[in-house]
Symmetry: C2
Subunit: 301 residues, 2 copies
């Protein structure tokens, strides 16, 4: 990832190092590396894929943070907090370009196609969310949204790693499915944590999604359980509401069974991912993937 900055403008090199230093969990490249190692992929193309996936993720975050006006990410200032919108847009574009270069350097046309398709899905999802209509609060809509936002990239990480491995097409499909399941679980848990964690831990206010009018799974379950809650209806219709009403709603969701319902659903996704692993080669990487899948739901604690 660092080598992708070489030879570019000094400010761009600095920005890319800043982004890489900010860290993050690196879940996506870890999945790519583990799946590929488990299935016997060559090291160098696999590394290129892992770096490509993480950089694609980084590029989308750069533009997302700019659009949302987010000032912190992973406890460090976002690029847009320190740079102009113009420089931020261009840096995101550059990271996209380098991610695409790394994807091409896997030497696989199929990986490139999956990469470009995942990027299309992610961006289309963001646009759909941006132009979303009022008054829609359905689980179907939610699943589409988190697939586009998160699971599509997990699917890319695991599916493309399988493409780089000496396995047949059905195994590629199963690997994609593994990425899909843990990607969905990952985002659901993220959405639960947005309600349950304290501001100091995540660095943003509790229920930041709901405050922005974004209805995630805990709010959806709460709504299904309390279809006539007037505060919930106000949020969905974006009719405006007092801060006090919102705090009451957040508290009600935090203390409701919606949190547990959401986690049970995430666990079901993880269980399906574990079932898939049980049919894969029993290597140390397989065990590590199982641990990673379990970590995804356990990190709530």
């Amino acid at each position: 990832m660092r080598s992708q900055a070489e030879g570019s403008h000094p400010d761009l090199v600095a920005a890319m190092h800043h982004l890489i230093d900010a860290g993050g969990k690196r879940v996506r490249p870890t999945i790519a590396l583990l799946i590929g190692s488990m299935l016997g992929a060559d090291v160098q193309p696999l590394r290129n894929l892992a770096a490509a996936v993480e950089m694609l993720h980084t590029a989308t975050l750069i533009h997302d943070d700019l659009i949302d006006g987010a000032l912190l990410r992973r406890g460090m200032p976002t690029l847009n907090a320190e740079w102009s919108p113009a420089a931020t847009v261009l840096t995101g574009d550059f990271v996209f370009a380098r991610a695409a270069k790394l994807a091409a350097d896997t030497g696989s046309v199929t990986v490139m196609q999956m990469f470009a398709q995942a990027l299309s899905t992610i961006v289309n999802g963001e646009i759909t969310q941006y132009f979303r209509s009022r008054g829609i609060a359905s689980r179907e809509d939610y699943y589409q949204r988190i697939y586009a936002k998160t699971a599509s990239m997990f699917e890319l990480a695991s599916g493309a790693a399988a493409v780089l491995s000496p396995v047949r097409q059905p195994v590629v499909e199963i690997a994609r499915r593994f990425g899909y399941e843990i990607g969905m679980a990952f985002q659901i848990v993220d959405d639960v944590l947005d309600f349950t964690e304290e501001q100091t831990t995540v660095g943003k206010p509790v229920a930041s999604d709901l405050r922005q009018g974004l209805i995630t799974l805990p709010a959806l379950y709460y709504y299904e359980n309390h279809p006539h809650d007037p505060h919930m209806q106000s949020v969905i219709e974006r009719n405006g509401h007092s801060g006090n009403q919102l705090e009451q709603l957040v508290e009600a969701i935090r203390e409701s069974s919606a949190i547990e319902q959401s986690l049970i659903e995430a666990e079901a996704y993880v269980q399906r991912a574990l079932d898939i692993l049980a049919e894969m080669p029993a290597t140390p990487e397989n065990e590590a993937l199982a641990e990673l899948a379990l970590y995804i739901v356990k990190r709530k604690i």
Copy 2:
């Protein structure tokens, strides 16, 4: 290009059709199609390449117009003139994604690598221009700038078309060189037209580059011929200057030999492009490419 919008959000489909309907000269895909046909490339991968190149160009224009705050492009409102910055950034990203998908659909890893490299070069060039220091006015700097901005994509169009053709590596290199030469000529003529054409024709004020502090070839030749012109020095140092001083400078450049010097240089690039064609297969496409190369300098009239 139109088919790349299918299945995405209706607003995105509308935006992409708007962008495609806005037209443009389509010089880059025309070069790709002619080079590939001349050298015997298969039709379908070549079409994908041509569409990929044009969409990559479109994507960079979307973000450029946003950054520059441009309200018109090709006589039609830009996306950012009608949409929010957020929606404009995302639409540019989506067009990048679809361009990458088309490049992958050529089935050539080498084409994908060239595509990603060209995108990196273009964006790095934009960032370099964005962060450029005061007081620099050198031709070396200018050539680097127009290579990144324009010639790199012409190089991609012609070089990648050769990659898709049943020819050996030296022919690919020669095809790239052809793209480089006409790309450089194309941008120089664009920069001359910025001085010589009237506002009504190009839809923006005469010498819009100079007004933004951007020193192009006519200004550079003028500066070499008049190194002590105080108005020119003010522009280069960005010390601020009155509107009247700037008008005098624009007039002086327009009436100077710098215009003719620039055009002679563009003609030299075109001549090298014609010399390359003379060594290529003598097909109807070759004749069309020669016409296109000549048109690039003739459109000054």
